[in-house]
Amino acid sequence: MEVTQRELVTMIHGMLFGGFFLLALFGVLVLLLDGNSPDATPNQTVPRWQNIYFIAMVIVGWAAVLSGAYIIYPWYRAVAPPGVDLVLYPKFLLTAHSSTAGWHNFGMEWKEHVAWIAPMSSTMVVWVLMKQRAAWNAHRSVRSTVLGFAAIAFLAAAIAGGWGAMIDKKAPVEGGAAIQLMGSTR
């Protein structure tokens, strides 16, 4: 059972960083919805596990966009030399045909920018939850605003993750050394 080096890095970017970030952000949304309800009891101190959870979420969020922009995107957009098989050049593979060009011109163009809204917003949300808990407890408007930003962060991450998965299905980022994950049975 083999994967190429680029496939493995793409999996780490999308399924580990991106997937964990989306899951964790959804958990924070539930936490914020609970804290925003009228019968919520103010919690002046943040439990230690929550701090660790928040920090881990922000780290995987930034890891997702940084690995996407600086490792995978250069492989995706690399310029194909004339006459070469386009399978190693996903952007050129997609834009070579009008029936698939939209995956790049719409999907990738949207994903590559909107994705960054998610870690920026979630960093702010986590900072308020960890460092401004008194203001968060005291003002309902603060809680509602933070909840709104967390919801937009989730939306942005879902758009980016969804398009990333679909584009990689249509024109996978491939290449590099083969890595043996498990021995074959035959």
Partner: protein, 114 residues
């Protein structure tokens, strides 16, 4: 005897307002730079901070830098103060909504007259 932390009844919302507005502004600048880079070849070349990534490197690095600088400046200005949070929040959400629009390719193309 359990120790209880004394928490002010009405803590200042200035630091939160600074964080929220700066975040909205940073996201908005991301959208503005994305559209500007798409619309002008010379601007895209100026944003090409890291050649393998192309103009995306400059768009995102500049937006993140502007967000952090704005956050620090507003945090210093609004430290210990209480503001009309509703207005700050409205501006922040306006910026955020515009950022979502500007990063949506059909809207960016419309802005560029394509």
């Amino acid at each position: 005897m359990t120790e209880r932390k004394l928490v002010p009844q009405n803590p200042a919302n200035g630091p939160v307002a600074a964080a929220v507005l700066a975040c909205g502004f940073g996201c908005f600048m991301l959208g503005v730079l994305a559209v500007a880079g798409d619309g002008s070849k010379s601007f895209a070349a100026a944003l090409n901070f890291y050649n393998p990534t192309g103009p995306l490197s400059g768009v995102t690095t500049t937006a993140v830098a502007l967000w952090l600088v704005c956050w620090v400046l507003l945090a210093v200005r609004w430290r210990g103060k209480s503001l009309a949070f509703g207005r700050v929040s409205a501006f922040a959400f306006l910026f955020l909504a515009l950022s979502l629009l500007l990063t949506f390719p059909p809207f960016g193309d419309m802005m560029l007259g394509r």
